[in-house]
Symmetry: D2
Subunit: 313 residues, 4 copies
């Protein structure tokens, strides 16, 4: 089928080529072929230094569960189906009577714990490193900036305990995290500093609302503000995440700037976003730095990934 | 909808309850509530020792790509669709002109790099820790042994370079890896030994066939034999994987014993299997041990996961 | 991919072949190759006679809507996604600026108005015309009795207005329609009689509950009883339907006989079932017979179809 | 979930409202609320007259099969999965030992025999009856012009045997059907005339290529030309279809006018299109007119439908 209708489709693509001009766009400092952005900030030193933070021998998963009830940005839905192929009516395989279950997913990737790849957010049709949406976005998958291009991620993560800082659990919706709050959290956690190549994870307690008040959970959130996003970008962090559905503060600081923090991080600075990643267990252990590893499922041309980062300390 | 037709369904479940007896089954040594099997072998010591193996600061991804062309066990299929919700016909959001792409998956989980959970393979309808298939398997997902129960995985991995050992690349189909071959590989790699809680990864070069000879790739493979599976289980490894679609040798050593190695590992010993995990880069670096981390996407009730383990050294 | 893993799969199928014996089964009176059952009762005379019933020139659709909110038998779910492939970010095709929307379905077929094909219901693993479930049912589709085999359906339909007969709207759940009620309805509607090859449609008013009391709608229903099913089968009808989710009376007349009316109709007599087909408009017009036509989408190997029969009078 | 994130989404929709102006658009002659276009041409007289054409008592299905191998416009794909919910490992329901198969679809609607609804094709973002794409197109479905709004369709169909006319089977790709060819076909078939409210079906023999030369089948086709489309529209036909994947001639008569015939029929004249509808059996019977009935599955918000029209004569 791949070869089908080539004539028609080629014609169509020619037909769509005219008309769009790119006024502004953000080039990667790692060159025109760069597809991984701020992950370039992670060096071998980041990896070895982070590995040295593994002291207690504890590994926690940061992923929350994804299923048909997980609150999600509309119209996202999710379902899984389990079946027993070839074994209907009591069949099994061979004299070993082998049985197996298999599973099928039909759903949007942006549900539960997610990685927002660099192909997720654009500015007026233009994406990270001046990628033109009309050229690399197809219904069959991204031709650039897809999740399959993400390298192995292993570096130090810094957890910012905003619950501890603000004394509210969860931190209320609409609370912005800007330079002031970020620095205060770092100071409170023992005068920590952020290094180039670090992954930043905010802890707000927000996932506690899931299943209890899904409407509140999904319509608003505390989170990163515009000033905070620019601050973290200036520090050359590798990724930024939070235990909320969208990382950035909602209602937005300026209601006309819709998901502007996403734009600052992703298309402007090439910083991928982690959503619904929960560092609660580390916070309870009063551990705020450790080795963060993430290997998103390498689905070719995918925009996002359902993830489960591992944090070791 | 969840509340619908409860009366009918309850009736149905009552109707199916009789009739099946469990002749033999394998209890977990970690108790009747255990759902994670040999992952219990991983201790804090495993984690800290493995972290010490991170010397060069290199992190590699072991996942291969998953897409509609990835050869897969029939009738498994896979597709992804990318779309721009709410932005049809040139729309964008707010005065920031924010755009976003989203993605939908319709596909079988067992495609590409996979984790076979303990709910994947059974013996005559009975699964790990004597779980009765009729009771925990539903079309809407597993009620036990689902992927969401898998803890953070971080431990030492030992890579066995079977290409180097056998001088064939790829190792030919039908080549069994049993105690003799495993011990020879360990010896060749500097008298390595396997520790309790290790993840074992065979390297065979098999994924080189993908896209070149999909038919050969998917119909046969070199891999773990029955004796080798029992040997690794006796050493209390945490997981076993390979760069092949099914880990175990195909054609099977005994053609009547269909996926018997899967049965030894999963239902008999609670050892999850990793498929299509590729350690080629480490082998090229002549590195055979390191820190292995894996956080499978926590899809509730899933049997398997599309994975991308991270290996650090 | 179709050619992949043939060796393994052949082995597996051999492995499952033994063990099941068919104690009883129902042969088709139209021969061992028959796949359409009672639709064989429809002759050219049925078609021409039914066409003569088209007097007012009115055509009504009997289908209800299918969407994510349509109450359905668990765990059935449904979703549709609309997208604009190749036109992201304001693109269009050619100087004609052609745009198009496309749509994707991810859902269970048994939602909304349905045709239950002869591969839907079996007795202890055996289906219509002694088809052995283990042999013709595969995860990739039915190899026999699939919806694609259904011929063009055009014949007289007789509508039985059970609301009018019983003076209850809707007819209460648990109300069985047996020979007595069927004959009474026919008599009330002008001493109608049922001919060989007719489609029978019960009108109960039940779909009025959709969106108002989905739980009641989907957990119980009035409908055909065991005696009524045998009666209609003895009259050689072509199909039987109703404006309920399951046609047959629920709670079942005998709670231990689960969907027994389905078994009488489908595997015993080769009579396909129509669910959620609504004849309300004809009932309001006091028209109880007309030309019924149905062409189910010919999805290869499908068990059911989402339908919208047309009734002309 | 439907209630989730209302605040955010409302904001977004406000944000996208500005900016698009509708230069030209085609209003329906049936008023601003019209959603069914030329189907309004079908009157009770059309229905009763067409029913009188049913003489032989023959009913044929015009639908071809839809499955994973059906050639389709890229990137459309299709799969069906059959499973036995709640009956895994030999279970059945009740003492009747009831079994059932169920089926799940994951696929694009535009595969196999299709109805192109009025929401399928637009002109620079504007659809039939001046519907603004930005307002009625959502990822969760069309808010206007969806397939669920299509009424029962029953009227006369006229089959135009272009194979017979042109003496080529199949008619070669790139052969346009314009007024001249249409009139010649009508004359050849006994001086037939087209009535207001008729459905026009071209027979080209093109589906014979499916499975034999899918590439040719799907990349080109004979079909309706621009002049022919305007001619049929001027005659107030109800629908136009053919036994090809796209009805209109490909290569297009003017290569810069991409799917211009689709635009003339759908957004300009409100005439829905039928694709891959095969009248071969009637042509073999030398029958060129009859009663055409169609009830597309009423999936809410769907753009298209997989169809199987019934033709009686």
């Amino acid at each position: 089928m791949k070869a089908l209708m080539t004539a028609v489709v080629t014609l169509i693509l020619c037909g769509t080529a005219h008309g769009q001009t790119l006024q502004t766009c953000y080039k990667s400092k790692w060159g025109p072929n760069d597809q991984i952005g701020a992950l370039n900030n992670i060096t071998a030193d980041n990896v070895t230094s982070a590995a040295k933070l593994v002291k207690r021998g504890k590994a926690i998963r940061m992923g929350i569960e994804t299923n048909s009830k997980t609150p999600a940005f509309p119209p996202r839905t999710f379902s899984i189906t389990v079946l027993t192929p070839g074994q209907e009516y009591g069949g099994s395989l061979g004299e070993t009577k082998t049985n197996y279950n298999d599973d099928i997913i039909a759903g949007w990737v942006g549900i539960g714990s997610q990685l927002d790849g660099l192909g997720h957010i654009g500015i007026d049709g233009v994406y990270y490193n001046c990628a033109n949406g009309r050229e690399f976005v197809t219904a069959a998958g991204l031709k650039k900036l897809g999740i399959e291009t993400v390298p192995a991620i292993a570096t130090r993560a810094v957890i910012l305990d905003m619950v501890g800082l603000m004394g509210r659990d969860p931190v209320p919706e609409g609370t912005p995290f800007n330079r002031k709050e970020i620095d205060a959290a770092l100071k409170r956690q023992g005068d920590m500093r952020i290094n180039k190549g670090d992954v930043m994870i905010f802890y707000t307690g927000w996932t506690k609302l899931i299943g209890k008040d899904d409407k509140r959970y999904g319509s608003v959130e505390p989170g990163l503000g515009v000033d905070g996003a620019n601050y973290l970008a200036s520090l050359n962090v590798a990724m930024v995440g939070a235990d909320t559905w969208g990382l950035e503060v909602v209602p937005f600081e300026d209601p006309k700037k819709v998901f502007y923090v996403h734009q600052i991080l992703i298309p402007q600075n090439g910083i991928m976003i982690l959503e619904n990643v929960n560092a609660e267990e580390a916070v309870k252990d009063k551990v705020y730095e450790g080795l963060f590893t993430l290997g998103p499922s390498r689905i070719t041309g995918a925009v996002q990934a359902i993830i489960n980062p591992i944090f070791l300390y």
